[in-house]
Amino acid sequence: MKFLALLYAQPQNEPQYNTPEWDEMIQEFMTLTELYKNKGVFIAGEGLQDASTATSIKVRANQSELHDGPFAETKEQLGGFYLLDCKDLEEALMYAAKIPVAKWGTVEVRPVAEY
């Protein structure tokens, strides 16, 4: 089964760029991605640019409407994702718990729909 882990956090709770904490976080992410690859669960995973760089688009009556910023106004912002191949939810949650963001934000785990 494929699971998407969505990484949400409030920017002020995250390590700031150019600090030892930031470097440590990056290191943790690299180690984690390596672990996922070794265990054969890694399909994809990326970090995203800051939510202020987001552009939302809607098409209504054949017209595109563009909006600055993310679609939903929530305190926690989407900062990255992993797409993992796991045997069940238990395994997916076990791997998701290792994502550094889980310590200061929220990791939402969703199964990928199969048609």
């Binding site: 089964m1 699971f3 045997k87 069940d88 939810l89 238990e90 997916a92 949650l93 199964p111 729909a113």
Partner: protein, 418 residues
Amino acid sequence: MVKLISEQLDKLVRQDKGRIMATLMGQFGDLARCEEAFQDAQALALRAWYKGIPDNARAWILKTARHRAIDTIRREHCFQGVVSDLSAQIDFDASVDNIADIEEIELPDERLKLMLICCHPALEEKTCVVMSLRFIAGLTTTEIGRGFLDKPATIGQRLSRAKNKIRLSGIRYGLPTHDQLAGRITVVLKVIYLIFNEGYVCQKGDEQLRFDLCEEALYLADLVSQLQPNHAEAQGLLALMQLCHARSAARQTGDGMFIPLEHQIRELWDRKVITEASRRLELALTLGEMGPYQLQAAIAAIHCQAPNYASTDWPQIVMMYRLLFKCQANDVVLLNLSVAESYIYGMEYALQKIEPLAESLSAYQPFHATRADFLSKLDRFDESIKAYEHALALTSVVSERRYLQQQKKGVLERKPKQ
């Protein structure tokens, strides 16, 4: 005759529902499918058993349910043009008619798996409660609705959302690893205790229609204690609930007023159950895994040992509450500790200890009732009456209201006339 058959069938289903569902789940892994097949089998049984219940009733139901499930899978797969591995494994020749030849079987007990899936941490707590009552205790949605004063349709929606989530979210039907099992059992125990408390608060006479949730919770706790004999807290929880339940006959007057421990007629307590529960608790304590359920059971057991309220071993109860606070640091434990301490160190001391809890427990009825009692014993009548009024405003349970009103009246009568 039909009525008799349907009564006997109900009884059988009540008794074996968890087992049969768990066995079906092991094979088909989809709650909705298993439930439907099980219900079909019961409907068929009603028609097929017109002469009486067969000896192999349980096997009959199980086999029939299996066939129904396989039939629906086959139909779906025909639709998609796929041949299922599952259907290939199963012998299709055995139709409902020749089930009469099969012998009664011993079902392997798969109920722990069923319980773990009903109480999965990915589900909301209330959903776990409803799932356990439906699939393990075998209550209908109407009965569960009565228990929680909800419409059956609401319960039904909750159940179908849960079944959907289980089916789609990748929750696996099976036992977790040994390391995870203890944590998962903790969730199961919490759910059972929630059911028990729900039933405990609302006693008969108050809400005539309420289903006896205490009995259901006891059934579930007994089941877990059999499945996990070496889980100290599982034993502790069962002992705790048994000790509370053993006193239920004494907890209410004939016309439905709550009676506190202090004024209960102890001859009405069920001594047999108390003895059994105390023995269970002793065994649990030897397992060396102390926890909040065992400590609360120990407190209940100390109360049960005292021949009357005056001879209660308060120092020991205080000690137990202090231990309990160490593993469950919350203000309700502090409140109960203060009540026990009031019998050793006096009302003034206890009152001072609970005052700092006023804010955090402001919406907790027993806080105000306790405070009112302390104040009344200190002859601070006006404050006591006010506190009873606070407590009354916080409960709609008739038996509790009647008790609080009586207490308030007592204080009013004692208050010197000006």
